[in-house]
Subunit: 334 residues, 2 copies
């Protein structure tokens, strides 16, 4: 019962483990040859599992690597490392970066509030790895990592949350402080500087030391469920107390998404956020609601360029995005 | 040839004459009884012409008087005068205010650049008046008026102009200064403070002394024709140099006009201005282009309230306007 309502707020859950090989220096201090050895060792374990493909950053097309970044499958830091590589399973729920900040950064992203399930999947992969590879581990500290914030479990548990109610009611600052007091971090999901593009936020554990994996997941999950309940209450409050304001916001978003001649990614995310809020509040209905989430990824900068199949300037991408979005949405309104 | 293109810029032409009766003090110093005598004398002349109706301000419904103000048929000053009245002909092209700042303020408004024709109509009416009434006239000064800026011909010749090209290219300030050097005044047509609501401006002669009526009209007409030519060139330049920006502006205006849930009069005028620019540049086409001008008057604050047939709050008027505009426009796009 919790899950169906909570999933209106929790877009996805992510578990990430940082691991390093015992007999190798951390990637920042590793020779290219040694880095290659690390990659070979890890790839051998993972490919044996079946269903994974290896992408070496140096051989990857610029656009493809940017698209992977937009999908949160790899980081900018990985692209910059000449020995960086990523292993992806077919549905891209599991991504294993090799030679990023640590030798291994394995993550699993699942839709909705599914932290335990994501942890199970990533644990199984870790078990496979440890069958053949000795990991850097200290009896007192736990797993050793390049950055001390990851020492211990080497785990980060996070959820991507859609928080229009808390944002529009002006309660985000309070929430960020509350989360901080609980050892959790909240930040805007799109772009570092802009805190609330499309009302999307990421909540995660701030440190990975001193608690077990189960405890960390439990804390994040508990906070996410609390925030979800508050968020949904705020949405109802907005709809009740400011119906004109909310309806206007939603219908204007629709009007611009289906009519603008050019759309920046920033504005697109904002408008899609308003549309999603309107769909939740039954102000506006689409034949295929899931289309909106799909569009969000398709319309990111480089994914859009890739879809167009052309080499487009920044200006041309924004015109293409507007046309694409209008085309995809226009006939879908009920 | 000039006229069809010029009329894309000149919305309407207006001639206004200020006249006073010889044997009466100016309205500000007039007793109520004397003011009534003035009204009776003027009304007798005008009603004899046929086709005119008399509206006494004190007996007029609040909304009706506000609607008349929005149509520029009467002034706020007239409403405030307890002895104020207006005589209107059937199509409302001629309005004769009695006991405003002067005893008589007679105006004729015609569509397009029609200053001479408007002057002819208002002159004929003046001739009728002078058959029965002695007007305050000085051999040296000309017609005497309550405010010295009107002394002389007592005439103001003005045109309402739609200047999106000059506004968007940032050349309005220069134009205002140029006009001022020619003894002309340009000001925003809607609201005193806001200079360019909907890109609408009024250009008129600054003083009425020292030139004949024909000369004043000639000067205003010449300036209006010059400005029209520059305005049309600026529009072409914008379309050529900033096609994305202009198309985006036009299509966003359409998106908001047909989707917003609430629309202030200020925003409405802005969006309608963008839509009209888009229609001129063939970026967007409507089955019934003249609808846009009609909407502009219908959607003014009090006209809108009257159309709704209900007593609406400010907030409700803005919601009603959005619904009305969307309804009127939606099916009209080609």
């Amino acid at each position: 019962m919790i899950s169906s309502k909570t999933n209106e707020v929790v877009i996805s859950s992510r578990i990430r483990l940082a691991r390093n090989l015992q007999d190798f220096a951390f990637p920042a201090r590793l020779t290219e040859e040694k880095a290659k050895q690390v990659l070979n060792k890890v790839a051998d374990c993972i490919v044996a599992l079946g269903g994974f493909k290896v992408y070496v950053m140096q051989k990857l097309d610029y656009y493809d690597s940017m698209v992977m970044q937009e999908k949160h499958l790899i980081s900018n830091k990985l692209v910059e490392n000449p020995s960086g590589a990523v292993l992806l399973n077919e549905d891209e729920t599991v991504s294993i970066m090799v030679n990023e900040e640590d030798h291994i950064r394995a993550q699993c992203i699942l839709e909705g509030l599914e932290l335990e399930q994501a942890y199970r999947i990533i644990s199984d992969i870790e078990d496979e790895i440890t069958k053949n590879i000795d990991l850097a581990f200290d009896q007192n500290l736990g797993y050793l990592t390049a950055c001390i914030t990851n020492v211990g479990t080497g785990m980060r548990a996070s959820c991507m949350m859609f928080l229009p109610g808390l944002t529009l009611s002006g309660n985000m600052t309070e929430l960020v402080n509350y989360a901080s007091s609980k050892g959790l971090t909240i930040r805007g999901a799109f772009g570092e500087g802009s805190n609330s593009e499309g009302y999307m936020y990421q909540i995660s554990n701030a440190t990975s030391l001193g608690l077990s994996e189960r405890e960390i997941i439990g804390r994040v999950k508990e906070a996410v469920e609390q925030i979800s309940a508050i968020e949904l209450a705020e949405r109802e409050k907005l709809a009740k107390n400011s119906p004109i304001l909310i309806k206007d916001r939603v219908f204007r978003a629709w009007g611009l998404l289906t009519n603008a001649y050019t759309l920046s990614d920033k504005e697109f995310l904002k408008l899609i956020g308003d549309l999603k809020l309107g769909m939740y509040l039954n102000i506006i209905r689409l034949k295929t609601p899931q289309l909106v989430t799909k569009l969000t990824f398709q319309c990111m900068q480089h994914s859009m360029a890739k879809i167009s199949g052309k080499h487009l300037t920044q200006e041309q991408i924004e015109v293409y995005r507007a046309e694409y979005v209008a085309h995809m949405l226009k006939s879908k309104r009920i």
